[in-house]
Amino acid sequence: MSTSKVGYDDTYDLQSKRLSIKKPDVRYDKQGEMTDDERVHKAMVHFAKDFGTTAAAYLDSCIHCGMCADACHYYVATGDPKYTPIWKLEPFKQAYKREASPFAFFYRLFGLKKKVTVEELEEWQHLLYDSCTVCGRCSLICPMGIDVASLVSTARHGMFKAGLVPHELHAVAERAEIDGSPLGVTKTVFADRLEWMEDEHEVDINIDKEQADILVVMSSIEIQKYPDSMAATAKILNAAGEDWTFRTDGFEATNFGMLSGNLDWQRDMSMRVINAAVKIGAKLVLLPECGHAYMALRWMGGNMYGKPLPFKVQHVSEYLADALNSGKIKVRKVDKSVTFHDPCQVSRRGGATRAPREIFKHLGVELRELPNGGDYNWCCGGGGGVVTIHRADELRYKVFKLKMEQVEATEAEALYSSCANCRQTFDDCQSHYKWDYTAESLLELVADSLQEDAA
């Protein structure tokens, strides 16, 4: 059954390695009944909304040195120049030069920068969505310090309003807006699965407490594919003696409004969590093992709310590091060589790179850092909503080769990460390449290694 207003098939496929809607027979990569001119106009309007000082400082400063290509895994894996990150912003930059740059008037007057066309926007859907995980590696190499990644996210606003979002990403985003979860998790589904985990792992899981210090939120990927993470979180919080709860009226950590480029939906999704937290007087919102959720709430939540959030926001790895450092929880030593895949939005873009290292120190594992890992890590290829798009699979598999080389170079026994979307991407590619590494959850490792007699 399809609840999509757009009327395309958005039935889920929750069984395969990568959760998304079923591979559509007929693709609807154009949403809404708009004429081409209307689409261009909508794109220009919503491009224009973002031409503030930050975007202008960036878009005016590109010196066409081409180095961002060397950082982008899509260019490095394919060698195709169209994947040069700044090239992915060409229509957005063109629109800026024409509409809001210091010399815009004269560009228009002498026709130096031509108007963006609908063909360009359609061609750029592949560049702005299928081949960009908004991983931010290009932003690190740019000699002019342009944050190219942030511009891609910004450019997606115009693309969404122009109804030019890839079929699957638009479908899951719309379902997240309507149902509250991109993968069909309703209140009852969430509650049932929590009770299932409570029995399975014999752990007390608080649901819908009226008041609590910590509001815990989950990503639908964990709820549907890695439910053990929910039990692991409960186990740890109980061990730490925290006053925490899940809330069925604010459980979804992911933000497909942000990934698809719909600012209104992004605000709605963030507000659900914020309202739930305010309602229960939470002092901390604990984000799960999810990359972009951290970016959405930790760094953009306040801007959605319109004022500073009345509570702290932590990624679960940050919480675990603090809890271990403060002795709230203790763990047994784990004797094996391990390597860690840093989720882009948490480490490189979010600044929480240190937390996993501290956790591994407490676990006493032999941590072998990935070559060019940590803040300069290669992206798993699934972020930014790309993993949901079937059309992008071929490209994603090609890009994943870089990741396999990187991990194999460490020859570590186990691979960990703290982002469910990364893990799902690893699983999908593992089955595609029959690869021997599995990306396991750092959270679950800590939960499994808890020392019961901790105070």
Binding site: E90, I141, M144, T353, Y376
Partner: protein, 217 residues
Amino acid sequence: MDLLEFARGPALQLSIYVLLAGSIWRVLGIALLQSKPDYSEPRQAGGLGGALKVIWSRAFTAPAFKKATMYSKTLGYTLHIGLFVTIFFFVPHILFFKGIFGVSWPGLPNSAIFFVGVITVGVALALLIRRMTHPVLRLISNFDDYFSWFVTILPVATGLIIPIRFGVRYETLLAIHILSVALLLVWLPFSKLAHTFLIFMSRGTTGAILVRRGAKT
């Protein structure tokens, strides 16, 4: 008013006015656009401190990117250092600046400057060939890139020709050299050469935002 007097006087004077007006125009054209506050809870202080940090740190290459950017960064920096040395360590130039700012500093021997100038032009040619042949650069380059290249290297080339003369009178060559500098100054604020000052705005913006997050810059 022969060509040299025109070049040294009104032409250079006018180009300096256009440079100044154009630069302020571009900076304000960006700075006075709307800017939204960041309500997120900072991990550490960003703002001006962050901006200055990245303005400095981004000049260097992270180990992860060393191999990929080695060629263009080495050539790029050689070009910029070459330009800096030829402009600020050639004694007649120093005396020119002394005439304006009253400040003077020791220069390098002219033969050394000539050598650096030749290297600079050579490196510039290598960079141009790279821009015209490398698939990425061919795709993203436009008129601004090629004309800015020309306008940047012309003063160095004309400067080098002055001592060689090729049989042309000294004042004619000097006039051409000064006019080429005027062309550079007039073109600078309206082109990619504006990265001379935009580098501070762009890197600074990233510094202010990302250092506040404690994210890698």
